[in-house]
């Protein structure tokens, strides 16, 4: 009996943590040698969805577009949000998709989930692609109101509205915390700083209960997994993958090293005498006595 239907869009991304990430000598990522995990922003989105499960008993479906191994991301997401369904949209023709083409697949998939979606969550952006475009574009195709940088949300089940707080940082100005209210359905791109908080004993107990359930489910995640290829999904092949992508990657090159703009004085870091001189210099600079 779900009175709230939720979907979460996640992505499988490189694991940047030390020990798992592998960099080439020139500083670029060695993808082949780097493990893949549920992207950190996708994880935050999963946590946000879990809040709805604990507070409102929501039904959660986690979706992703990717190769067959992307089901790992779905499993990890299920562990975080006790998902009831896991959907993987996987087909060779989806490959090479830019964000618009990806959004087309996701929108088609989400529209097919049983039950009318009330909230769709995505992370702020992927940690490798980092465009942050797929979420809003999927929202647009779904026709859902888009709310970005959400740091807190609550659902009014009677009015079928959501109240959210958004963190808007205006560089060069200040930060604004905006409180908005929107009728369901909405698409929420969750801010990286989002932390779900459960403030009563009963919510904490519900949290534990669903966490335990999540662990059990995730161990057996294939039971909850549905894989869709392009035909099963019913997408228009002209709108997905490379054919459906307005943009292409034309070339990749090293950013040229700019000419040295300063000449450094080299100092021995374990010589107290030399470090002392640097300390003095620092205070001179701060006092405004040194003009460069």
């Amino acid at each position: 009996m779900a009175n709230l239907n939720i979907a979460v869009i996640v992505k499988l991304e490189p694991d940047f943590s030390e020990g798992n990430v592998s960099y080439n000598a020139d500083g670029t990522l060695n993808r082949a040698e780097t493990k893949s995990i549920l992207g950190p922003h996708s994880a935050v989105a999963s946590n946000a969805a879990f809040y709805a499960k604990v507070r409102y008993g929501a039904q959660i479906a986690v979706t992703t577009m990717g190769p067959p191994i992307a089901d790992t991301a779905l499993q990890q997401a299920q562990l975080l949000c006790d998902a009831d369904e896991l959907h993987l949209y996987s087909d060779r023709i989806f490959a090479g998709a830019d964000t618009l083409a990806t959004a087309e697949v996701l929108k088609t998939g989400i529209s097919k989930i049983e039950g009318k979606m009330d909230i769709v969550f995505s992370g702020h952006r992927a940690s490798d692609g980092e465009t942050g475009q797929t979420g809003p574009q999927t929202a647009w195709k779904l026709g859902f109101t888009f709310l970005g940088n959400v740091i807190h949300y609550d659902v009014n089940m009677q009015n079928k509205t959501v109240r959210a707080r958004r963190m808007i940082s205006l560089q060069g100005f200040y930060d604004v915390v905006e409180e908005v209210e929107a009728p369901l359905p909405v698409f929420i791109a969750i801010d990286p700083s989002y932390k779900a908080s459960f403030n009563t004993v009963s919510q904490r107990l519900a949290f534990e209960k669903y966490q335990k359930e999540a662990k059990t489910r995730a161990q057996d995640y294939k039971q909850y997994l549905k894989v869709f290829n392009a035909q099963q999904l019913g997408v228009d092949p002209k709108l997905v993958g490379l054919p459906g992508s307005p943009t292409i990657v034309y070339k990749v090159e090293r950013i040229p090293k700019a000419k040295a703009s300063r000449k450094a004085e080299v100092v021995d870091g374990i010589s107290r005498e030399q470090v002392a001189k640097v300390a003095s210099k620092m205070y001179e600079v701060l006092e405004g006595m040194v003009i460069k």
């Binding site: 000598a25 009563t200 004993v201 904490r204 107990l205 209960k209």
Partner: protein, 623 residues
């Protein structure tokens, strides 16, 4: 406001036992724990006992958790050997106290609380959930107030809620006791300060070194010069593949002549006998040639780290029958011989290719400390206030008499009694002090542990004296004279003990718990009758900074402790007595840097002492 019948504050072994018992009785109970998970803020020496007293009954851990406990609780080793060593320089005199350890005992298991309490939590939590209750962690209680019959509990993390009954299981520095005024803070005379380190040691090496089988364990106690003239002693317990090594001293003895806790534990580790017990093989990386190209240096560094990690893992596996079996079953290796072959290969590779040295040293995993309430001196006479029942360390209860060191089992026994009292109150919906508190208090009076906190058990004394029969009378006689000489004689013993009980613990304790007992006598014993022991290496002792660096913390920016008088004599001593050097002198003032605090409570008496907010503070890995 949400409302619950009973709230247990503190997720240590006692609190968890109360939760399990209440749930066993079909009651809904909530347990609040400040740590992010249960077990991260617990530390014990430690050994968990189960007792079968001749008179009265003790509620043991297996009574509460059922046969599950003996079947698969993560206890370490069943202690089958219990030795007391008197030390002086490189001489040791050993007494076998195994019979004393087995006195009225079903068993004694060495334990590491991080994993044991986690197991308790899993079981107690599951049972509690079936009754609609459960464990809420990451929550720190900030205040308790009474509104009519109900108690309103405020925490740092949750909206306030009500409870009809409260079980305070929040340890020796009980904030509940302090906030409600149920008792005053314990003073140094009433406390011990315990410090310990967990030492790594592969499973089968432990068994070889200590002469025990896979189902056995050893407990060694130490007195003599290792105490640096303080009243108390050292201990070394064998866990499955680690050792718990530490020292426990009377806090007032430490106040008289402050010694840094890490100095005390170091004195134990340096003792030749202990050093030989704790030694293991360690890989030391060779300095990489700086003239090599940077990429090559990186490559070597990475390769050596990986190989050493591999070597340690293989070695630990090789020395553990269960791990060997698992590895072979997983198909990674075809036989155990292959594991050994691979281990040798890796070792040779490290030695030949990378000039890694393999030396003798010990490997320290975790450093910790806690205060221990001396039940003989500070057990709460009536361990309740209104509808709050105090158990275990929070009530100042524990049995510490000579080599008898029992805290965990006392807490569990108290917890069951408290749970029973609360369940009874729930049935009648009467939580008044006369109906619930008094009932609990009377039940505590009946506990055999309470008796042991008040009187000398003559049967225990007999066993101890029998074990000590090799001790020359002249060493003892000179010191304890009239009172104890008769105790050596079987016939007069009963009389002497009776007489001693009339005198009372408070008159006798200064005699028993004295420098004579813990320092002079053992030193003399060792010098006169001890056998020589030689250390074959010098252990590399970490500095306190290194020990702190190895601990995990979740820092709360603000300090959880407030210094009240920065110039007092007590606070000046904290500069020495804080186990993690949180206090320092700046100008004439004692200042606090809270980041390294392990919440032992050593400074509690003269500070506004609180635990950090939920999830914050120290996170023990072993406990």
């Amino acid at each position: 406001m949400e409302n619950y019948d009973v709230v247990i504050i503190g997720g240590g072994s006692a609190g968890l036992a109360a939760l399990k018992q209440l749930s066993n009785l079909g009651k809904q109970a909530i347990l609040l724990e400040a740590g992010k998970q249960v077990g991260t803020k617990n530390i014990s020496g430690g050994i968990l006992y189960s007792k079968k007293p001749k008179n009265g009954r003790a509620y043991n851990v297996e009574d509460v958790y059922g046969p599950e406990f003996l079947k698969d609780a993560p206890v370490e080793r069943r202690i089958t050997q219990y030795m007391l060593h008197s030390t002086s320089r490189n001489k040791v005199f050993t007494m076998n106290l195994t019979s004393a350890h087995e006195y009225q005992a079903n068993f004694g298991y060495s334990v590491l609380l991080n994993r044991l309490n986690a197991w308790f939590a899993r079981h107690a939590g599951e049972t509690a959930e079936r009754q609609g209750g459960g464990i809420v962690s990451g929550v720190h209680v900030r205040s308790l107030a009474w509104e009519g019959e109900k108690t309103v509990i405020e925490t740092d993390e949750l909206d306030p809620f009500e409870a009809k009954a409260v079980i305070a299981a929040d340890g020796v520095n009980s904030e509940v006791a302090e906030m409600t005024g149920a008792r005053t803070k314990f003073t140094p005379e009433q406390l011990y300060q315990g410090v310990k380190v967990v030492v790594k040691m592969p499973e089968e090496i432990i068994e070889q070194r200590f002469g025990i089988g896979p189902d056995e364990g050893a407990a060694h106690l130490f007195a003599g010069d290792i105490t640096l003239n303080h009243i108390g002693g050292g201990f070394l317990y064998t866990n499955r593949d680690t050792l718990s090594v530490g020292a426990v001293y009377h806090y007032d003895s430490l106040m008289n002549r402050p010694s840094e806790p890490y100095t005390l534990v170091n004195a134990l580790l340096k003792n030749p006998m202990v050093a030989e017990y704790i030694k293991d093989e360690v890989a030391i990386k060779e300095e990489i040639d700086k003239n090599l190209p940077k990429e090559e240096q990186l490559r070597i560094r990475f390769a050596v780290s990986k190989l050493i990690k591999n070597w340690n893992e293989l070695r630990d596996t090789w020395h553990s029958p269960a791990a060997r079996k698992k590895l072979v079953e997983s198909g990674k290796y075809k036989s155990t011989e292959e594991i050994k072959a691979r281990l040798d290969f890796v070792q040779n590779e490290l030695a030949d290719k990378y000039r890694t040295k393999f030396v003798t040293d010990y490997v320290e995993l975790e450093y910790g400390a806690k205060l221990v309430p001396d039940g003989k001196r500070c057990a709460m006479k009536k361990p309740y206030l209104k509808n709050i029942l105090f158990v275990g360390d929070a009530a100042g209860r524990g049995v510490f008499v000579g080599p008898r060191i029992e805290g965990l089992n006392v807490g569990i026994d108290d917890a069951v009694r408290a749970a029973n009292a609360v369940a009874r109150a729930i049935d009648r919906n009467n939580f008044g002090p006369q109906y619930m508190g008094e009932y609990y208090s009377e039940s505590i009076e009946e506990s055999p542990y309470t008796r042991d906190m008040k009187e000398i058990d003559k049967d225990y004394l007999k066993i101890f004296l029998d074990a000590a029969k090799d001790v020359p009378k002249d060493i003892i006689g000179q010191r304890y004279g009239m009172v104890f000489r008769p105790m050596s004689s079987g016939t007069l013993r009963g009389l002497a003990v009776g007489f001693a009980n009339i005198l009372g613990y408070d008159k006798l304790l200064p005699l028993i718990e004295s420098e004579d007992t813990y320092v002079q006598v053992p030193v003399e014993l060792a010098e006169k009758m001890g056998r020589p022991v030689q250390a074959t290496y010098e252990p590399t002792l970490p500095t306190v900074a290194q020990r702190v660096a190895r601990l995990k913390y979740d820092d709360d920016r603000a300090s959880h402790i407030k210094v009240l008088n920065s110039k007092s004599e007590f606070m000046k001593k904290m500069v020495t007595l804080c186990p993690t050097n949180c206090y320092s002198m700046e100008g004439g003032d004692v200042t606090l840097q809270h980041e390294a605090c392990i919440e032992c409570g050593t400074c509690a008496e003269e500070t506004e002492w609180r635990h950090p907010r939920g999830e914050k503070g120290v996170v023990y890995q072993y406990g």
